[in-house]
Amino acid sequence: MTDLNADTRQSPANPPPAGTRDVRSARRVGADRAAAVAGSARRWPLSRIIGVALLVLLLFSLAAVTVGGWAVARLNGAQTTLAVVFSVVAVGLILSVILFAVGLRAAAIRPLHQLAAEARQVAEGDFGHEVSLAGPREVTDLAVDVNTMRERILDELAATRQANTVLQAHAADLERSNSELEQFAYVASHDLQEPLRKVASFTQLLQRRYAGQLDARADQYIEFAVDGAKRMQALINDLLQYSRVGRSAREPALVSSDAALAQARNNLATAMEESGATVETGHLPLVLAELPLLTAVFQNLLSNSLKFSGGKPPRIVITCTRDEPFWLFSFSDNGIGIQPEYAERIFVIFQRLHERTAYPGTGIGLAMSRKIVEYFGGRIWLDTSYTEGSRFLFTLPMPAETMNESLEDEAPDQQTPDDEIPKEADD
């Protein structure tokens, strides 16, 4: 008796072709099937039913034969023919039952078995395998349905694959376009510097060499020309720096934001001392970033706070709190502040809120900071609810290794005026 639950899987020796295998759904199907099989384990398979029926029939036939034989013995002589006929009929009955069973097995059970095996093969991922049609109508109908399902799966797979290809093509296009743009910005900035250098230098030379021989008006012209050239150089330099964010091949690494802040303060040491600035900060955490870029972010923010202090000594407060999976930094000052309606504009490259004569600068600091922070995976924005000056909030990714550590102090407690910071040598 064949057990329909026997393992006739084809996996290792006959794996389905690579292109049609969908591992995930095969596994899921396998799991579902295992559950269904476990559920129906108590049910009798067809072969067992027929086997039992056969057995019963056989027993009955034996009984009939026995009764017949006994009847022959009783009725001896005259009834012998009847008894013989009866016996023959009984044997014939038994034979036909056996034939019936064999025929049923061949006609129905084997095809069912075959269908089951092939369906299992399809379920494991061989969607290209067409299930063969054989056996009674119900079995072939079932086979046809299995094939239909299979075709549907193949169609869906093909559609998904094509959608993926299109998406990938788009992504590649975008990446190429981005890279071209960055390349363009870089090359343009780089190549623009040389002629500019000529303009600036020779105008200055003109000034030097002919200073006494020209009138005041000429001096003024030269002054404006040189100033214009210098400003253009500053813009180009800033544009170059801006376009270079994200072009380095370096991987983000564990960076101490304490170190970045210290470096930024060091770079601005003179300006900080002159303005009498103080910085209050707690212990800042390790983040996933690049040190020079993170330093630039702090330096931009610090420099802005110094510049837009409104005459009074700048007081800067830096704190950091958890905001899994990020660290949330807060950078506040007591300067002239920023009106809420400009909260987004300040982050646009070269956008300035004041006349050039009022405050110097190209207006790239915040745009650069945003580009850097976003390059690291964080966000930066203006806290419009803070009115005693300006407050910038930005997030940086928390390195996985440090997620369970805590900051020693999360509240600002140290107040170190900048001239007490030991000056480190430049890197």
Binding site: H190, Q193, E194, L196, R197, K198, A200, S201, F202, Q204, L205, R208, V226, A229, K230, Q233, N237, L240, R244
Partner: protein
């Protein structure tokens, strides 16, 4: 303490193809009344001829310092530098590479061809002459050059 010798007049070879930059360098040397003679060639080929005293440069003096622009026609400044440093006679002459940007400096630095120094051509004349003055102070005055 370094001893101040009688300032020896040293020949400086400037390898630069840009006329404007050449003029600026001359102006800068003049401005500081630098006592050294400035020789100019326009490309790498001429530079090597000058240094080997071949062709039209048979009577050329041996310079004590070379200012070498990175961007030269035909052979790049770095190729010239490489060749200089492979020549037993010439490798001792200090070479200052003139680059146009920090980025360029990084690239050149990565070649580690034993240039003695890099100077980024500064943004304007004021800074340029400052750079020249520092070159003068260091290489031409303070340091004893192997000439």
């Amino acid at each position: 303490m370094t001893e101040l010798e009688d300032p020896k007049v040293i020949d400086v070879l400037l390898v630069e193809d840009d006329e404007g930059d050449v003029l600026m360098t001359r102006e800068a040397f003049e401005y500081y009344k630098i006592q050294n003679r400035l020789h100019v060639v326009g490309d790498g080929e001429q530079a090597l001829q000058f240094l080997r005293r071949t062709g039209p440069y048979a009577d050329a003096p041996r310079p004590g310092l070379i200012l070498l622009d990175v961007n030269l026609p035909r052979r790049s400044g770095m190729e010239v530098l490489a060749e200089l440093k492979q020549d037993d006679e010439l490798l001792m002459i200090p070479v200052i590479m003139l680059t146009t940007s920090q980025a360029e400096e990084d690239i050149v630095r990565s070649y580690s061809l034993h240039a003695n120094a890099f100077i980024s051509k500064p943004v304007d004349f004021e800074h340029f002459i400052d750079a020249i003055r520092q070159i003068d102070n260091f290489f031409l005055t303070l340091v004893k050059l192997p000439v």
